[in-house]
Symmetry: C2
Subunit: 726 residues, 2 copies
């Protein structure tokens, strides 16, 4: 499944990284389009079969886009007038785990709230973000950003402008706002979202449906996974957002998606609206080469080793295996994605392709003196700063391993938090402002369910081995000396940070209390702090210089692409995007993928154990061909998953798949391993998205889980919703 | 690729294991038929398209069967009147490695002898075995074997009868004979082969053709591997077999295969003749359950660990990586096969299937008093002895790890050899008779190219960790005490066995010299000997009891299958077999395999590096569509590999694939991962064999490697051979 990478290989300074995101042009079926680009793509969409007015797809205050929500990492959508949200099973799995105990194993058995009062609080940190506005703030962001500024000053200026914009936006209650760079910081948009804090688990099928095929089938086709699940958004009776309270009421969205009465067939138009996380389709040739020659191979090796360490450290200990299951799964999943990246880059000759593209661009720049003056320095400057960045990022990858000791990661987070509290809120580092406190508290709490002291220690020892392979100047001597003095035995014996309440209490302590503390992990965090800050300053300085060079480079590239008549869209950056394509299989030499899988195919894979263990009710209903109205007339049976050509990436998980009339026909949930290279270069013949078919979802609700209450609520069957709520 | 497992998980007492092989019935496309069964299958073959007289397929003294040869582990066939032998690339790869040096890398670049005088000696131990006779020796084998004999006596009697038969057969010069059990020892056949000792490497394409796709594509479809290579058999001028000598002359086979003028197309009849190694399609339900619940999971884990150890021990050391490459590849390849077995057993519900089959058989036995008296005790007896065997084999798997220290393995082999030399040849253990000396010497010599002391030591330490997990009573206290006294430092510092000449010299030393030796590995081997012999005696005793039970059980099963009108064929046991089917792709839910891959598909996979690096000449010729007469009119391009439904297993690698007229249309070289379960239960919808198409072979010889001399010799093109040599 497409899972966000962020958890696995945490970059220490995400605030800085966010400023480095940027954007790229398009061809053929390619494109993650901003809502505002509907005039550029409308005609093509109509030609490909869209029946709606494309102009409507630019409106965030109307259906279908205002039914699309973010879960922060996953995408989702409203499907009823009373706040019912549909997304992928793998996006609600944390809440299933959170609510499970030995004697009520919702993760394995699935969960269906009998009535609305039985809906369960989702896992801590779960949010529904309802998008309300997306506006161009380029002018405000670039205010005071002149070419005279050095790297650090430029960074600080951009950061201050961003914080000011966010602070102003978040003065409106219950709003979460962010400012993201597009086209490498050539432009910025502010995204305003209502933050729903009370999210409840409504329904998810059994693991043998929602995760059927497990890791074996992950990134694979043919696929037979019913990857769907339901939340509901709740607010206070007055409509304001607040955390769980018994008398909260369902949120009433301005619109919601209706479920298509008729499913899709091969060749049908489909579109997907969601929040794709990151693509890097227009990194420079030098950046791409570094990534595939050095960065991802090292990262892949570290993850492979990490997975082996996790297995060794938890071998023969079921309790430990359960606690570390999601960390292991994350490591293995991302290692598989990196392997796909690396193989894909080889297979498509990415290096040569990027080189040729860049040379063509340089030729275009060089062919005109005005262009030369405007753009030629930028790409050289970008290459120069990229070389510095590369060295730092390889080092950073190994340095970041220290945080695999979860209590050290917690201690560093807490001390940094305390240090930032000494400043006025607006001057605090992004991620450590008042607005971030709840998220930090959730992160600190989360450790509890995925931590065991002796396992953590074994993983920390392995991380230290790797860390010590760095040359001395890249390591932290003070930290190492202190660690040696404490020793691992005392480190784990004496710390109190293993206790969740203690970790949370430290959120309110001043920095001085940390500096006076005897807790060995806190002492280590304090020792690491000066080095962390110094590295961060360097990174900010580089980020400022990168911004200066890249935003100019991108403007040039943008102009170049336009001159060739190519439509241009920004690289994915976690903001709302639209992509369209058609339901289509794929053929290559010796092999054809047909676009649909079916219930009979699921049954053929069903073994009754492990990852291929569909629930008895599902097996019986398939054997009896009890498909009710959900079968496809074209296939003559019940579809399970289907393939399309839409262009998605991580973060799109759970995205509504809409037909030509804007009705829900499925949910995007994965790509295929040989298509993941599309994050770097879109290759139409390789790129396929895997969707769970809405008919399989409805059938499971109807015939397997008896979720008729929800079907009625969604207007499926006899009663259909009267309108989309306007 | 299908590679023999034997190297990876050596069973210590192969002689005993050989007596435990047995046999099974058939359905539909299933069956590895003995040549003598052509009257049973002839009609069906004709119906499926065979144009030859099926009676001819039972003749070992006529074409096509007397053109089929064994390489001992691989299959092959004569394709010219002067001893040219075609097989798979992966069957000649050892000889390419053996002849390669840094400055002439035949493995990577391929090898083509310019003239006959330039053909190179194949790797030590390479043989061509020309089958001459296969005769029923059941009566002679069972002479004196009565129901009164205990297990050990029965074993000894069978062993003595077998040796006598072999000795008599091998009185003819240059013959290699073996006696194999069929149907669990219900019958025995003696196979007589001419042993050609001078085998030379004639031609193999570059690694980027012969192993295109490498381990990534191993066991996979779509496939684009040109898995072919050529040897030539040489004999003394007087026609007798002898080792390499300059004035040896090409062997003139009685017949040879002609290359089909026209390749196959979808649906065509194809048959494969070769030497499949082992199938276990009629193990009892209890045996199957044990294998999949315990034995293979442990074995898989040990191989996974071994691969990780090999990688760690050779990390960053190119020399070490090269030396251990084939051991690592073997471990990974077999681990993949075991994973396929385990997944396949789950997927087809093997356990339940075997249970149901066995119950049906028991019902049939129980339905008739005569049958009950004859057969009912046997299956219970078999279950009882299997339980003992299971415990011993789990133990044996861990004990056998000690031989991963290659010098310990060599020392044990040498000391055992010396001990056996004290007996008259006929009384020596199988594998340690005069006739085995050359093979043992080759094994001892082979260590040289795959051994480094420090790597061996690291692997031995890991093996010892695993060995020590056995309970004390399953370990050898004398050995452990001695090893502790010596210590690993001295063990590796003081031994002289690292020197090949020294190892070979020990072949002529008496047992007393070993017992007086100070060489630490020899001391360890001497210490282990009494335990080894005791375990072997126990194993022989079990084998004797197993034989008594299984041969009766098999007779019953045979009668039962016949009563149901099912044709019955023996399980694969390394003897010559025939299988037929048709050229056919495969379809499952969401995916279709088309039966051919093409040159364009190869080009699409070609990246110019790693495992996907076709030679420049091949790439250029494909780009130019320079296919000459080799393209398929049906496909409109050059085929590379194709799929068929024929029933093969390990040992069949290199087997000639023949069309309805008995002409060579390809070479079988692999199966697919989800079909490997066919070793345990044939599943027609899963089973597909992958063949390299003869047209791709001819094209490579013609357009890429300029092997016109060989093409002419094979009668391809202008000159065709006049007859098949009679």
């Amino acid at each position: 499944m497409i899972r966000l990478a962020v958890r696995t290989g945490v970059a220490p300074h995400c605030a800085v990284a966010a400023l480095l995101l940027y954007a790229m042009p398009a061809a053929a079926e390619e494109g993650m389009w901003m809502p505002g680009q509907s005039d550029e793509i409308g005609a093509a969409m109509r030609e490909d079969g869209l029946e709606l007015d494309p102009a409507g797809l630019s409106r965030l205050d109307a259906a279908p886009l205002n039914a699309i929500v973010s879960l922060g990492g996953c995408s989702a959508s409203f499907v009823s007038p009373v706040g019912l949200v549909v997304t992928n099973h793998h996006c609600v799995v944390g809440s299933l785990q959170y609510n499970s105990e030995a004697k009520r194993d919702y993760l394995t058995d699935g969960f269906l709230a009998e009535g609305r009062g039985d809906e369960l609080p989702a896992a801590p940190g779960t949010r529904v973000y309802v998008i309300e506005d997306l506006r161009d703030v380029t002018a405000a962001m670039l205010k005071g950003v002149t070419s005279k500024l050095g790297g650090l000053d430029r960074y600080e200026r951009l950061d201050a402008n961003r914080k000011a914009l966010i602070t102003r936006c978040e003065k409106q209650p219950n709003r979460r706002c962010d400012v993201r760079p597009y086209y490498g910081g050539a432009s910025y948009f502010l995204q305003q979202q209502l933050e729903v804090l009370d999210v409840r688990l409504v329904y998810a099928p059994a693991l043998g449906i929602g995760s059927f095929g497990g890791d074996t089938d992950n990134w694979m086709w043919p696929r037979h996974t019913g990857d769907f699940g339901f939340y509901r958004a709740y607010v206070a009776p007055d409509g304001s957002s607040r955390t769980y309270a018994k008398d909260n009421v369902p949120y009433r969205p301005k619109s919601w998606l209706r479920i298509a009465g008729k499913g899709v067939k091969e060749g049908d138009f489909v579109m997907v609206a969601g929040f794709p996380g990151t693509t890097r389709r227009l990194r420079t040739a030098a950046e791409v080469r570094f990534n595939f020659a050095q960065y991802e191979p090292l990262w892949q090796r570290l993850l492979t080793d990490y997975a082996a360490q996790l297995k060794r450290a938890t071998a023969g200990d079921r309790e430990a295996q359960i606690r570390y299951a999601s960390i292991l799964q994350g490591a293995e999943n991302y290692e598989k994605k990196l392997a796909g990246d690396l193989a894909g880059a080889d297979a498509i000759g990415l290096d040569a392709r990027k080189q040729a593209e860049e040379e063509a661009y340089r030729d275009w720049v060089g062919a005109d003196p005005a262009r030369q003056e405007r753009y030629s320095a930028a790409i050289d400057a970008l290459d120069a700063v990229a070389a510095e960045y590369n060295a730092a990022s390889l080092k950073g990858l190994r340095q970041s391993l220290l945080n695999r000791a979860q209590l050290l990661g917690s201690a560093r987070l807490l001390y940094r938090w305390a240090k930032e509290q000494d400043k006025p809120d607006a001057r605090r580092e992004s991620g450590y402002q008042k607005r971030d406190r709840k998220l930090i508290a959730d992160r600190l709490a989360q450790v509890e369910r995925r931590f065991l002291s002796h396992v953590d220690r074994e993983l920390f020892e392995a991380a230290l081995d790797e860390y010590r392979q760095l040359p001395a100047e890249d390591r932290d001597a003070a930290f190492e000396a202190l660690l040696a003095a404490i020793g691992l035995d005392r480190l784990y014996a004496d710390t109190k940070l293993g206790d969740t309440a203690t970790r949370l209490r430290w959120l309110d302590e001043p920095a001085a209390a940390f500096e006076a503390s005897d807790d060995p992990f806190i002492k280590l965090a304090v020792a690491l702090y000066p080095g962390d800050i110094a590295a961060e300053l360097e990174e900010k300085e580089r980020a400022g210089r990168t911004h200066a060079a890249r935003s100019t480079y991108m403007k040039g590239l943008h102009a170049y692409r336009k001159s060739k008549g190519e439509p241009v869209y920004p690289d994915a950056n976690g903001s709302l995007r639209l992509t369209w394509g058609k339901v289509a299989g794929r053929s290559r030499d010796g092999e054809i993928w047909t676009p649909f899988t079916t219930a009979e195919g699921l049954l053929a894979k069903h073994t009754g154990k492990g990852e291929f263990d569909a629930p008895d009710e599902a097996v019986a209903a398939i054997r009896a061909k009890d498909y009710g109205p959900h079968a496809s007339p074209d296939l003559g049976t019940l579809p399970v998953d289907f393939l399309s050509t839409v262009d998605i990436t991580n973060g799109n998980s759970g995205s509504a798949t809409l037909n030509a009339r804007g009705e829900l026909v499925g949910l995007a949930f994965d790509g295929t391993l040989d298509g993941v290279i599309s994050d770097w270069a879109f290759v139409p013949e390789r790129n396929r998205t895997i969707h769970v078919d809405s008919r399989f979802m409805l059938w499971t609700m109807d015939k397997v889980d008896g979720a008729q209450r929800l079907l009625r609520e969604m207007g499926v069957g006899d009663a259909r919703p009267v309108s989309d709520g306007h």
